[in-house]
Symmetry: none
Subunit: 208 residues, 4 copies
DNA sequence: AACTAATCGAGACGGTACGTCAGGTCTTCTG
DNA sequence: CAGAAGACCTGACGTACCGTCTCGATTAGTT
C-alpha cells in the first residue's frame, strides 16, 4: 500500500487565498462565526457581529467571502479538517450495533446547542443557496458520506447487507429520517428513535 | 340565538380572531406571503413587501401574527384547508406501488418553485423557531402524517407490513430520506430516487 | 398698496413638511448639527454623529434633508428666525461710526468658535453645492443684505453717500474684505482692521 | 567655495525631500490631484482616487504629505512656480484701467471649472485647517499680494492714490469683494461687477 | 560590482461613515 | 373604531476611504 499520507497541500485552498492574506484574521472570523451562530442562533447572526467578535474590519470578511453562509461553511470546513485524518466509522463486525453507536453519537451532538445551532444556521443557508449547497455536498457532505458508504460496503462484502444495495440510498435510509426529524422538529430526537430507525431500515417494513 | 354558522370547525382559530377582523385583509396577506416566498425566495421575503403586495398596513400584520414565520405558516394552513376534507392516500392494495405514486407526486410538487420556495422558507423558519415548529407539527405535519399512517396501517392489517412496525418510524423511513435530500440538496430529487427509497425501505438493507 | 405685513406663515416650510412630521426631532437635529459643527469642526461633522446627538434615527435625517449641508443650512435658518422680527442696523446718523459698530460686532462673533466653526462649515458646503448656495443667497444672505442696503440707503438719502451708488456693490465693499480675510485667513480679523476697511471704503483709494 | 549649484532657490523644499524621492511620482500625484479636484469636485476628491489616477501607491502620498489639503496646496504651488519668474501686474499708468484688466482676467479664470473647482477645494481646506492656511498665506497669497501691493505703490507714488493708504487694506478692498462673492456665490461674478467694484473702491462710497 | 537601504506599486488590514433597507412600535387620518 | 398609511428609532446591510502596515521589486547611493 502506498504511503501517500495526508495530501501535501490542497487541504484548504478553495478561495484565491492571496499570499498577503492574514491567517490570524481568517481563523478569528471563522471561530467567531461558529460561536455566534451557537450563541445567538441564526436570526441574530450578523456580519457586523462576527467582525466585532473577531476584532476585524467588516471589509475583511466581505473581501474573502461572498455571503454569510460561505463564512459559516468555511467555519465548518475548518473544524472538520482538524481532527480528521482518515477517520473511520466503528467496525465491530456487527453492522446494526455500529450504526446505532454512530447515530447515538449524532443524537448527542445535536443535543448541544453550541453544535446544533450552527448546524441549523448552515442548513438553512444551504436550503436557500444552491451554490453553497453544491459546495456543501462536495466538501462537507461527501467526505462524511464516503465514510458511511465504506462501512456499509464492508458489511455488504461480509454478506450482512444485500449485495445489490445502492449504498447512497442506504445511507439516506439510515441518516435521512434522523436529520429530517431534527431539522423540522417533527418529533423528539432520542437514541430510542435512532435505534428504531436502524432496526427498521435494516429489517425493512415488510412482513417477513 | 343565531346558530353561529361560521366556524363549526375550530380548525383555524388559534389566534384571538376578533369579530372585527377583516377577512379580506387576512386572505390578501396570506396570499401575498405565499406568492412572494415563491417569487423572491426566502431572503427577500419581508413583512414590508407582504404588506405592500397585500395593500395593507404593516400594523395589520403585526396585530395578528407574531412573526414572519407565523404568517407563512398560516398561508400554508389556508391552502391545506382548501381541498382537504378527509383526503386519503391512494390504496390499490399494492403498498409499494401506492407509496411510489405518492412520492412521485411529491417530487413533482418540489420541482415547482412556486410551491418549493415557500416550503423552503417555511422549513427554515421552523428550523429556527421551536414554537412555530410545534404549531407546524400539530397543525400541518400531523394531519398529513395521519393519512400516511392510515395507509400503512391498512397495509399492515393486510399482512403486507410487519405487525410490530412502529408506524411513525415507518413514515420517517419512507419520507425522511426524500425531504432531507431535497432540503439540503445532497443529491438530485428524482422519481428514480424515490422508487429506490421505497423499495429499499420495504425490503430492508439486510441480505435476505 | 396694502400692508401685507410680512407673509403669514412661510416661517419654516421650504420642505414638503408632512403633517406627520415630528417637530421635536426636527429641532433636535438642527440643534445637534449646529452644536457639533461648533465643537468638532467641519471635518468630523457626520450625519451619524448628528443623529446620535439628537437621539434620532439616521433615516429621519435622510427622510427630510438631502445633504449634510442642507441640515446645516436649516440650522442657521432656525437660528436666524428666532430673535429677528424686523431688526435693523443701528442708525446714529453717522454712517461711518455705525458701520464700524456693526463690523466690530461681527468680529466678535467670528472670534467665538461656537459661531465661527458652524459658519465655516456652512460656507464650505455652499462653496461646493450651487443648489445650496442659491438657497443660502435667497433665504439667509438676502434678508441680512437688505438690512445692510437699507442702512446705506438712508445714509444715501441723507446725502452722506454718493447718489449714484450701487448699494449691492457698496455692501460688498464693506463686508467683502472682512469675510474674505476671515474665511481664507489671509490676515488677522481685528477691529483695527475693520475700522480701516470702513474708512477706506468710504473715502476711496484715490488721492483726494 | 563649492559651487552648490543645485538649489539657489529654497523656493520649494519645505519638506525633507530626500534625494531618493521620485520626482516622477511627485509630479504625477500633484497633477492627478489638481485634475481630479477639477473633474470630480471637492466631494469626490479622495487620496485613493489620486493614487489610482497617478498610478502610485497610497503610501507614497502619505509619506510626503500630511493631508489631502497639503497635496492640493503643493499642486497649486507647482503651477504657480511654472511661468512666474518675477511677473508683474500691468502698468499703463492708468491704475483704474489696470485694475479692471486684472480683475477681468480673474473673472475669466474663475469661469473655468478646471481652475475654479480646485481653487474652491483648496479654499475649503484652508478654511478648516489653520496650519495649511498659514502655509497658503505665506507661500501662495503673499507673493501674489506683493505684486498687487507693488502696483498700488507705484500708483501711490505717482500721486494717484492716497499717500496714507494702507496697501494691505487697499488690496482687500479691491479683491475681497470679488473673492467673497465667488466663493459664497452671493451673486454673479461678471466683469460688470468687477468694474463697478474697482470704481467704487477708488472713488469711495461718500458723496463727493 | 556587489551591497544595502530607502522608496516604490500594490493592496490587506482595523476602522468610521456612508446612504439604504427592513424590523417592530406608535400616531394620525380616513371609510 | 379598525385599518391604511407612514413617521419614528433601531440596527444591519454592503461600499468607499481613511491612515497604517507589510510585502517583494526597483533603484539609488555607498563600499
Amino acid at each position: 500500500m502506498p504511503p501517500a499520507k495526508k495530501s501535501p497541500a490542497p487541504a484548504a485552498p478553495a478561495r484565491p487565498n492571496s499570499a498577503r492574506r492574514s491567517e490570524a484574521s481568517r481563523r478569528a472570523i471563522l471561530t467567531a462565526a461558529f460561536e455566534l451562530a451557537g450563541e445567538l442562533g441564526y436570526a441574530k447572526l450578523s456580519i457586523e457581529a462576527i467582525a466585532a467578535r473577531a476584532g476585524v474590519g467588516k471589509q475583511t470578511i466581505y473581501r474573502w467571502w461572498p455571503t454569510k453562509g460561505a463564512v459559516l461553511f468555511d467555519a465548518f470546513l475548518m473544524l472538520s479538517e482538524g481532527p480528521d485524518g482518515d477517520a473511520e466509522l466503528p467496525d465491530t463486525g456487527d453492522i446494526e450495533a455500529d450504526l446505532k453507536t454512530v447515530l447515538r453519537a449524532t443524537v448527542e451532538e445535536l443535543a448541544d446547542p453550541r453544535i446544533a445551532e450552527p448546524m441549523r444556521a448552515l442548513s438553512t443557508e444551504i436550503a436557500h443557496d444552491p451554490q453553497l449547497a453544491a459546495l456543501y455536498a462536495e466538501r462537507l457532505d461527501e467526505p462524511v458520506r464516503e465514510l458511511k458508504r465504506a462501512r456499509l460496503r464492508k458489511a455488504q462484502q461480509a454478506g450482512q447487507l444485500a449485495a445489490d444495495l445502492d449504498l447512497d440510498v442506504a445511507v439516506d435510509a439510515i441518516w435521512g429520517p434522523l436529520l429530517n426529524r431534527w431539522l423540522l422538529r417533527t418529533g423528539p430526537v432520542t437514541t430510542a428513535y435512532t435505534d428504531a430507525v436502524v432496526e427498521t431500515a435494516l429489517r425493512g417494513l415488510r412482513a417477513s
